[in-house]
Each structure stands twice: as structure tokens, then as C-alpha cells.
């Protein structure tokens, strides 16, 4: 699932899909925590997932705000359109 998200991040050009891929990766990590917690009978795994959830919500808020600004600037959601920093 993590690899799926990673590949999505690398191959998609639409910013919304990139954000979604990041979410997938975060959930993959969260799931790994939960599985590990139930395997070793520790509550820490579920606690970590709650943290990740809160962080993901904040990240999405910032990410979507950036996407909005990006759209204003470039009139597109293509991540490759933003290459002004080319060396």
C-alpha cells in the first residue's frame, strides 16, 4: 500500500492526486503501526495512529491551500508547470 502511494506520487502530474497519494502513504504507515501494536499487544500502535490522523488532517489543510494558490498562479493543476526554479 505504501509502494502504491509512492508510485502514485511519482507518476501522477495532477496535484490533487499527488496529495491523495501522500494520504495513502500516511495511512500505510498508520496501518503498519496498528498491525504492529496488535501483534505485540501494545496500545502504542493505536496511539501513534491517532497522531498520524491529526497530522494528516493538518497537512491536507495546508496542502489544499497551496493547491488553491497554485491554481491561481498557473491556471492548472499540473505539478510540472511549476518549474521556475530550474537551474
Amino acid at each position: 500500500m505504501f509502494a502504491l502511494g509512492l508510485i502514485g506520487l511519482l507518476v501522477r502530474r495532477n496535484l490533487i492526486f499527488i496529495l491523495m497519494s501522500i494520504e495513502v502513504m500516511l495511512n500505510a504507515a498508520g496501518l503498519a503501526f496498528v498491525v504492529a501494536g496488535s501483534r505485540w499487544m501494545q496500545p502504542d500502535g493505536q496511539v501513534m495512529f491517532i497522531f498520524i490522523l491529526a497530522m494528516a488532517a493538518a497537512e491536507v489543510a495546508v496542502g489544499l491551500a497551496l493547491v488553491l494558490q497554485f491554481y491561481h498562479l498557473h491556471k492548472s493543476l499540473d505539478a510540472d508547470a511549476a518549474s521556475e526554479m530550474r537551474g
Binding site: L9, L10, A79, D80, S83, E84, M85, R86, G87
Partner: protein
């Protein structure tokens, strides 16, 4: 009281430190109090020390005060120590006192200047360096003062640094004196390697023991020291920096000319007189340099239109007299002329400062005129100073000191008729250019309006100097005019008396009479040419020969042009040709290499965020692999 000797250089140094650290935050009044007060206290200290030195002279008429050991390396132990004898006492006294008057004057003169505290800081450091130079008992301390004086002259000539011309003049002064300093330091090393001491008195003692009269080493050392003295004291062939040094503020010029800097060379030669007695060739060279400089500078002074440049050339010419006196072994006569010159030259510069200040910084004499009534103080003091400079017989100080030198140029064993005649021609020239200056500036029709009158702080110092320019001469008079010899008697406790030679034909009275005659001829001629019949002067310069000479003299005998062609242009040419040598290649190679790397790495900066993400992934995979499998 002699214990307080260390105060004389320390007080101006303390003034400099206070002004350098706190100066910009202080108001003008405290700055003036610190700046002028430190020099005033220093002058007072040297006055008290002189009084106690005269009242109860120390053993051998010399006193050494050792403060601490400066450096202690492998037996080489220069000390911070001050040496006081008749020579250094006299010079210190004159230097601090004249400097005090100049500082007092500049408290008003510089009042409107932005860099008020900076100016006083530099001036204090200047005096501190000069006094260190005079009192230092070893060559290293002497050299410290010598270089300090050079540094301060650079700072003060370029004081108004926003104008690039002033910066150029400052650089010129620094570089030209550096040429002489190089000769000086080689001379100092030569003496140290052969005599193994840097204590000046000990050095002189050993020189007279180990070196035979006229030996090659003594001549070489004498000539090298002369090189240093020539640079500092603006003698031929290094005299080109002084006229340009007029770019500095007027009190600075007064300080450089009268008290500090240019007399350092005279002091150096008088201090090492033993060496010159051992090397008659070097001493003869001193006399020849002096006489040549005094004639050439006198002729150049005749053609200048800038009031301060005339005074600059007159200084060069008067220092030439001092060198002449040193060269014929009339040590005390040289110092006598140094003293009177300090009084009247400081006076002339300060009066000229009043004039230029009153006329919106106008320096062209041909645009002045008729200032006699407008600026009476400046006129009378300038007249006194000018008469003293030109040597008005019987009443002025300059007459007695110059007359003594001219007489010694004939009467001393190493003097000659040629030196004597040329030095009298020098009097004629001095009188000519001095009265040309006075007539153009103070007589005739007024050409500019006076906008500013001097206040008390500017008037009092020039009046004091005016009194001194007259009274200063009566400490040493010839036998037919009172026969006073207090000055030379005092100096002969540290300098030997001149060696009398065979004299035929003229007597001292005749010599002094000829000086008076030369003065009178110069006065009448310039009255005729520059006041009554102005067209005569123009007719003289209109002739092809006159015109060529005028231009030649005006450009200081083409010295600047010659040095430009001889030294500056070849160096520039070589720099152009040598631009691409292999050392440069090394440095440009490094630059090329980094440029190459830059080009290689910059292609990775695509600006595409997905590539960066891929890079991060690739990197983490590689690191994870390393951690897991290695």
C-alpha cells in the same frame, strides 16, 4: 620634574585614544577641549621639563628614562625609553608649543567641518608620533615615530577624502616618502648588523670606535640615512609630494611644515652627526642636496598662483637651508633655523588660512588683493612672517638664523664660496617670492569680498607666533649685534661646534650685509614688478624663453612628469604585459574548475517537484540498503 618626561608623548596619545573611541559621540566643545588640551598639557610639561633641565642640568647634559622592555627576543631588547638632551629638548619644546598654537587655531578653523573629532584625533596622533620620534632613545622607537608621522600625514592630507584628488595627493605623499623610508630602514639594518646595538647613543659611540673616518660602511650608512631624511624632509629628488600635500586642511599644512614631519629628516641627521663626521662624502652630499633644493624650490615658488603652494615651496627651500647648515657641520645653526622656521612658517600658514577662509576657500592669489584693510590681523602677522622668512635685517628672527647659516656656509671648514654665493642668491629668491605673495594678496585693488572675519581662537595663536617670529632670533646674534650665543652654547652640550676654516676676503659683517642687500633687492624688484608695473611681469612671461621657464618652474622642474615616465608608466606597462603569467593561471584555473562543476550539477536542478521526490526515494533506498547490507 625630569621624571615626567614620559608625559610629553603620552598626553597627545591619550587625547588621540579618547577622541578615536568617544569622538563621534561627543559634542564639538568637549572634542576641542580634549584635542587642544592634551597638546596644551604636553607643551606645558615640556616647558616645565625644559625649565628644570636648564636650572639643574643632569650629568652629561643628558637624561634617559626607561619605562619598560618592549621586546625581549634572543638578546635583542629594545626598550621603551626616552632620551633627553639639548637637541631633543629644544625640538620637543618647539614642536609641542607650535603644535599647541596650531591646535588652538584649528578649534575655530575646523568648526564647520563634519569630521571635527576625526581631525583632532589625527592631529593628536601626529604630535604623539613626532614626539616619540624625537625622544626615542633607540632606533626602533625612533622608527615607530617616523612611520607614525608618515601615516598621520597620509590621513590628514587625505582628510577630505570625498574628493579623489585629495586621496591621490595623500597616496603620493605616502608612496614618495616610502621610497626614502626604504633607504632609511636599510641603513638602520646596516648599522645594527655591524655595530650590534640599536641604542642611538651607544651606536654613535661604537661607530666612532669601529669605523675609520671615510670608511665605506660609514659612507654607506650616512648616505642611506640621508635617503630617509630626503624623503621625509622633501629635499631633491623626493620633494614632489609636499606641494600636492596642500590638499589637506590649512592647519594640517601648518603642522606638517612647521612642527612635525618635514623637520624629522633634519633631526635624524643632527642626531646621527657622528656618522656624518666619519663620512665627509655623505656630509658633502647633504650640503649639495640642501643648496640645490633651496635654489630649485625658490624658483618654483616664484611661478605658483596658489597661495599655499608658494608657502609649500618656501618650506622646501628653507629646509634646504637647514640641510646646507647640516652639510657644512653647523649643527646648531641648522637647529636655530629650524626653530625660527617653525615659528614663522606656522604663522604664515595660519594667516593664509585666515585669508582663504575669509574668501570662500579661494586659493588663487591673482583673485585676491587689497586685503590689508579688511583683514588687518592677517596682514600684519603675514607681513611679520614674510619678513622673517625673507630675512628682514636686524629685527626678524629669520635674518639671524639664515645669516648664521650663510656665514657658516663660507666660514666652516667644509664650506665654500660657491655654497655661500648660492645661499645668498637663495635669499634674493625668497625675498622675491615672499613679497610677490604679500603684494598680490594684501595690496592693490580688492578683487573678492571678505565673507568671514577670524575670531579670537584664530587671532591669538597667529599673534603669539608673530611675536615669536621676531623675538625668537635674539637668542643667538653675531658679534657685531650684541654677540649673544646662548642658543648655540646650549646646543653644543649635545652637538659639536662647527669647525672653523680659513677665511679670505669677506667678514661676517660683510656676509650679513650681503644678506640684507639681497633682501632689499628682492623687495624692490617685486614691488616694481608685482605692484607698480604689472605689465612688466606679463611681458617677462610672454617671451618664449620666459614662458618656457615659467612653465618649467611651475611644474616643479618637470619632476612629476619625469617620475611618471620613469617609474609609473613602466610599472603600468609591465603590469599590462604580465597580466597572464603562470601564477595567474593557477588562480584562474581554480575558478574555471568550480565553474565546470557548477555546470555539471546545475542540470539536476530541473525545477520539477516529482524529480526531487524521486531523488529522495532513490537516496533513502540507497541508504537503507547500506544500513541493511553493510
Amino acid at each position: 620634574m625630569l621624571k615626567g618626561l614620559w608625559l610629553i608623548p603620552t598626553l597627545p596619545l591619550a587625547g588621540f585614544l579618547v577622541l578615536a573611541i568617544l569622538g563621534p559621540r561627543l559634542a564639538r566643545k568637549p572634542v576641542a577641549i580634549v584635542g587642544v588640551g592634551s597638546i596644551g598639557l604636553s607643551a606645558l610639561a615640556s616647558l616645565l621639563i625644559a625649565a628644570s633641565f636648564l636650572a639643574s642640568p643632569p650629568a652629561g647634559y643628558a637624561y634617559t628614562q626607561t619605562l619598560w622592555t618592549w621586546i625581549d627576543v634572543g638578546g635583542f631588547q629594545p626598550r621603551i625609553a626616552f632620551y633627553l638632551d639639548a637637541l631633543s629638548l629644544l625640538m620637543t619644546l618647539v614642536v609641542t608649543f607650535v603644535s599647541f598654537l596650531i591646535h588652538w587655531y584649528s578649534a575655530e578653523f575646523m568648526l564647520d567641518d563634519e569630521g571635527y573629532s576625526r581631525f583632532f584625533a589625527y592631529m593628536n596622533l601626529f604630535v604623539a608620533s613626532m614626539v616619540t620620534l624625537l625622544l626615542g632613545n633607540n632606533l626602533l622607537l625612533f622608527f615607530l615615530g617616523w612611520e607614525g608621522v608618515g601615516l598621520c600625514s597620509y590621513l590628514l592630507i587625505g582628510f577630505w577624502y570625498t574628493d579623489p584628488i585629495n586621496g591621490l595627493a595623500a597616496r603620493k605623499a605616502f608612496i614618495v616618502t616610502r621610497v626614502g623610508d626604504t633607504a632609511l630602514i636599510v641603513g638602520l639594518f646596516l648599522m645594527y648588523t655591524h655595530l650590534h646595538t640599536i641604542d642611538i647613543q651607544e651606536l654613535m659611540r661604537r661607530a666612532s670606535q669601529h669605523w675609520a673616518g671615510g670608511s665605506g660602511l660609514a659612507v654607506a650608512a650616512g648616505l642611506l640615512l640621508l635617503g630617509g631624511a630626503v624623503g621625509k624632509s622633501v629635499q631633491l629628488p623626493l620633494q614632489t609630494w609636499l606641494p600636492d600635500a596642500m590638499a589637506g586642511p590649512t592647519p594640517t599644512s601648518a603642522l606638517i611644515h612647521a612642527a612635525t614631519m618635514v623637520t624629522a629628516g633634519v633631526y635624524l641627521i643632527a642626531r646621527t652627526h657622528v656618522l656624518y663626521s666619519l663620512a665627509p662624502v655623505a656630509q658633502e652630499a647633504v650640503a649639495i642636496v640642501g643648496i640645490a633644493t633651496l635654489i630649485l624650490a625658490g624658483l618654483s615658488a616664484l611661478t605658483q598662483w596658489d597661495i599655499k603652494r608658494v608657502l609649500a615651496y618656501s618650506t622646501i627651500s628653507q629646509i634646504g637651508y637647514m640641510f646646507l647648515a647640516l652639510g657644512v657641520g653647523a649643527w646648531s645653526a641648522a637647529l636655530f633655523h629650524f626653530m625660527t622656521h617653525a615659528f614663522f612658517k606656522a604663522l604664515l600658514f595660519l594667516s593664509a588660512g585666515i585669508v582663504t577662509n575669509a574668501l570662500h576657500n579661494e586659493h588663487n592669489m591673482f583673485k585676491m588683493g587689497g586685503l590689508r584693510k579688511e583683514l588687518p590681523v592677517a596682514f600684519w602677522t603675514f607681513l611679520i612672517g614674510g619678513c622673517s622668512l625673507a630675512g628682514l635685517p636686524l629685527i626678524t628672527a629669520g635674518f639671524y638664523s639664515k645669516g648664521l647659516i650663510i656665514w657658516q656656509a663660507r666660514a666652516a671648514a667644509s664650506g665654500s664660496t660657491a655654497l655661500w654665493v648660492l645661499s645668498i642668491v637663495g635669499v634674493l629668491l625668497t625675498s622675491l617670492y615672499t613679497f610677490r605673495l604679500i603684494f598680490l594678496v594684501f595690496f592693490g585693488d580688492a578683487k573678492s569680498r571678505v565673507s568671514r572675519k577670524p575670531g579670537y581662537a584664530m587671532k591669538v595663536p597667529v599673534i603669539v607666533l608673530g611675536v615669536l617670529s621676531i623675538l625668537g632670533g635674539f637668542v643667538d646674534t653675531p658679534w657685531f649685534l650684541g654677540n649673544v650665543h646662548r642658543f648655540s652654547d646650549f646646543l653644543q652640550t649635545s652637538l659639536p661646534p662647527p669647525v672653523e676654516g680659513q677665511i679670505h676676503g669677506v667678514s661676517e659683517l660683510g656676509s650679513e650685509g650681503l644678506v640684507g642687500l639681497a633682501f632689499a633687492i628682492g623687495l624692490c624688484f617685486s614691488y616694481l614688478v608685482f605692484l607698480r608695473r604689472r605689465n612688466l611681469a606679463e611681458a617677462l612671461t610672454a617671451r618664449p624663453l620666459g614662458k618656457a621657464l615659467h612653465q618649467f618652474w611651475f611644474a616643479d622642474w618637470g619632476m612629476d612628469w619625469l617620475y611618471d615616465k620613469l617609474f609609473v608608466q613602466p610599472v603600468l606597462w609591465f603590469a599590462r604585459v604580465d597580466k597572464q603569467d603562470f601564477i595567474d593561471l593557477l588562480y584562474t584555473g581554480i575558478a574555471r574548475l568550480s565553474e565546470l562543476f557548477y555546470r555539471a550539477v546545475r542540470t539536476t536542478e530541473t525545477g520539477r517537484v516529482r524529480w526531487y521526490a524521486a531523488g529522495i526515494v532513490f537516496g533513502s533506498v540507497v541508504f537503507a540498503a547500506i544500513v541493511l547490507f553493510l
